[in-house]
Symmetry: D2
Subunit: 309 residues, 4 copies
């Protein structure tokens, strides 16, 4: 597979990890899910992310799942694998394994223990050394989860120091000013890397307007992000916003902390992308009231989409 | 002024604190803002909340501002005053002062140092003792900000123990299951208190569906919350959602952590509710890109409101 | 190997993980370290704990290290293995593996995401289910690191619910009142479990006085804890304090957050327990000034020990 | 009173705030306490610090207490007042008030919301602007409490930018390497400010060895810190350590998080420095077991002090 580069754009869907009702990895659903995401227009996939229940897999399961995804993708789009780990030995081992299996790059978030600018810069120097010169990596900037605040200057320093840092997963909420600052810097000579936006796409129109190259996040309707990105790229920002607005009520609902994964898996199962909405413990479960709200939001969404088409 | 009771419903707007461009309290704007909120249909006001820049006021300024608001409200609606404080002496002093000035009740969030169920229950026992038997209070449940997780059982215990606890400001994000659990308990004999939803109203339709009595939060267009609550109370949940959806893109934008107050004040100033959007340091400022995004969202919102009316 | 029981007492040393200077696992030093701890009087060993650099090992390395330790211990004392993990699949897999290899029990700290009393109780129910009915476990109560506050009532509830919970690693700093409350409860009919104290032994005399059964922690001079526990058990509390006081200046120095492991490994290497003080990245390194301070503390400690003997 | 300068050295005792048993400010005890600290050799006093229960006082009480202390000190030593506040209006008002009353300087810790290097540097620029050019200030670096990590480079930048920053209250636990880095920088041309160590003096010998000018912290026996500093300054580091070691068991005991203030006030009351050990709610209370442990530690301390004298 070709490696991830600074030119990456479009929508890299953060994939879920499908389980059977009994909690086992569901490999046939893994195939179906890959097909589903690609049919909806994904430009890439990201697996073993925080919403991918990576920490709930055993090491063997992780390997099995990664291989299954890569085999099904079969090089049609790049696949990024989350390899964040508390220690570099495990990170290096996982990274070498998935790159050997055909991944296009890996993604690393900082541990909550790095705080000062220098600590963050040093951490990513160790990350780059651990991954080696042939493994492109994505810097995941997600302070709501990591509690690590990374300033634009620090990102630029990491980009300057580490030539294998080719992408920013932008998840500082929403951090529009950060995108503007980074794009201004790359306009002024700093190496330009890809910026894909996170946060469930809830700020996608504004992020694209500020210079993001697309999105790397999840949503039960990934076609929203694909259509918004394409329409925006085609120059019709108002139309892109119309599409975005139609999906926003459900996207907002899916973004509930601690509950979003259950909602996303419910929608994906309902849409046939996976066989079961089961998540591994600890996991939240949907109540009847939750499900009724989701149904209502979906039917309103469908109605609204018809109105604008 | 009549005191806050368990029957409170509707929209209690979290008011901003208006400053002049030079940073001084703007008392004429305070009057105008009160009028604005009441014209838009507020059932009550809440002042000196977290978004009210309370910690940036001196003790004298707090007193001056509270008196000005109460004088302008003149008993037309209840006014709740935030009195959260690291110590009970200051909390008791502020509470006695504002109740003496005519406030209807006070609001208290727990400090981040209380963690276990017992610590939270004990804390609110001390709160109730400090406030005294004649001061109704609002329990502010806002874990994203306080880091204190309060389970439904703990809320019910506080309600049982403290007869002066008459309202929950529900800001567990979004914590729909918590509303359901509390309403089920009050159906089964627990004292029923008012539940008003927070979080900028971003989950208002669902919260009303679960049993909330209204909202206590801020937004540059408080009429959204008023109209949604009224329409929902009138039995037209779909119409309430139509209204909600029309405002959602801007409401979402205004809910940016660390940036929302600047956006809200910009909108309020633009709408003539206050003279200046100035906030006291430390404060974020809007860039030209921010302002252009707000303008675009407002014009789209106006168009959409016309379509549904 | 016999299983860990509620009657465990004495000193369970939290073992380090020895590495060579090049960062590889040092298996010969692992043998030497085991011998060293047992010679110094350890009643048990605990491996793969937070100070054991467990997160820096690959899954294979963890397995290799555990097997090497268990082989060397050869059933002379019980060995506890830390199996805390973000997900139950990995926890269950590691636990089954080490119990199969001959461990006597496992230790589990709660993730920082569980906060309310009910969440903590539920979490340990899932832990016990995951580990199964034949795996005794240690509840690690270490709020300074986990940010999870566990009240005595919650611990008692876990003890009541989960018969496989046989020990508390007490590391609420120093939480003397918690030991008193737990011992009062076990005097009043609650199942009595073993309580071993942590925090580098810095409150060991007081913890023993409150009812702790010993210590489970690390220190470059584990004989301090052994001698204090033995002397205390023999009824000579003042003599136990004399011993404790002699070691306290160095024990205090070793307890520096973020720096303690480097100090401990330096001392162990100096004493011949391991070949190299190397720690895996990210790791702090000792400066010349640090080393001079350690040398000075050791020589003063030796002098003081002579005075009291 | 003369202003605080970069040449400050010795022991600035963090004073408690004395209350009567009924919770009122105890002004006669305030006088007695000031006398006690000065008799024990304090080079300065610091009031309204975190351990001074500042947040539990009303604004009026703070003013009354500060004036009483300043009147009793009567210019014999410098007095520093803690003015940390969530907003600059309150900070500026309190600072102007206490400097007008005769304080020698103020102390400011950063709020937990500032995280990146730039945010910290900007925050202290706003602090210096708020305090004005005639108010020397102490930078309080206490990450365990504030969660803000300040690197040596950031401290040096603040020192460079803000000429009124004259002292570092060093409470990064224990952060010996930070003192070394700062002293190396001041040897190389950076403006040299005073560094006084915190953390209950638990690392005082090492901190002095690294270049600290003394201590700014509290302990029921402030003469320990005074004697250690004087003996160290006189060139007898081993003798300074002997004194330190004699007090260490009790100093360690007093440093229990959340419990230390109750212990300190108990000792001060026992020694006659204040009339009552009462602390304002929320406060921990000593059990009989706690008191017995303190008594035992004090009698051992007295015995040991005799042995070394």
């Amino acid at each position: 597979m070709s490696l991830l580069t600074e030119d990456a754009k479009g929508v890299y869907v953060i994939a879920v990890t499908p389980f059977k009702d009994n909690g086992e990895l569901d490999l046939p659903s893994t195939d179906r899910m890959v097909d589903f995401y690609l049919e909806k227009g994904a430009s890439g996939l990201t697996i073993l992310g925080m919403m991918g229940e990576a920490p709930k897999l055993t090491a063997d399961e992780s390997r099995t799942f990664v291989r299954r995804v890569l085999a099904r993708v079969a090089g049609r789009v790049p696949t990024v694998v989350g390899v964040s780990a508390p220690g570099f030995a495990a990170m290096g081992e996982l990274s070498a394994s998935v790159m050997g299996d055909g991944a296009s790059g890996v993604m690393v978030a900082p541990p909550s223990t790095v705080r000062t600018d220098d600590q963050i810069i040093s951490y990513y120097r160790m990350v780059a050394d651990t991954l080696g010169p042939n493994t492109p990596f994505v810097l995941q900037d997600f302070p709501l989860s990591t509690t690590v605040q990374i300033s634009p200057q620090v990102i630029l320093k990491i980009v300057e120091n580490q030539s294998t840092c080719v992408m920013l997963k932008h998840e500082d909420w929403p951090g529009l000013a950060k995108i503007t600052a980074l794009r201004k810097a790359s306009g002024a000579g700093s190496r330009r890397i890809s910026i894909l936006a996170g946060n469930g796409g809830l700020f996608l129109p504004e992020e694209l307007g500020r210079g993001a190259d697309g999105a790397m996040t999840g949503f039960g309707y990934p076609e929203m992000m694909v259509d918004v990105c394409k329409t925006f790229a085609a120059g019709d920002a108002e139309r892109a916003r119309d599409i975005f607005d139609a999906y926003l009520p459900l996207a907002r609902y899916e973004q509930q902390p601690g509950h979003g994964l259950a909602i996303r898996k419910h929608i994906l199962a309902k849409r046939g992308a996976i066989a079961s909405a089961a998540a591994r413990k600890p996991a939240s479960a949907l109540s009847n009231a939750d499900i009724a709200e989701i149904e209502s939001l979906i039917s309103r969404q469908e109605r609204r989409l018809k109105e604008i088409n």
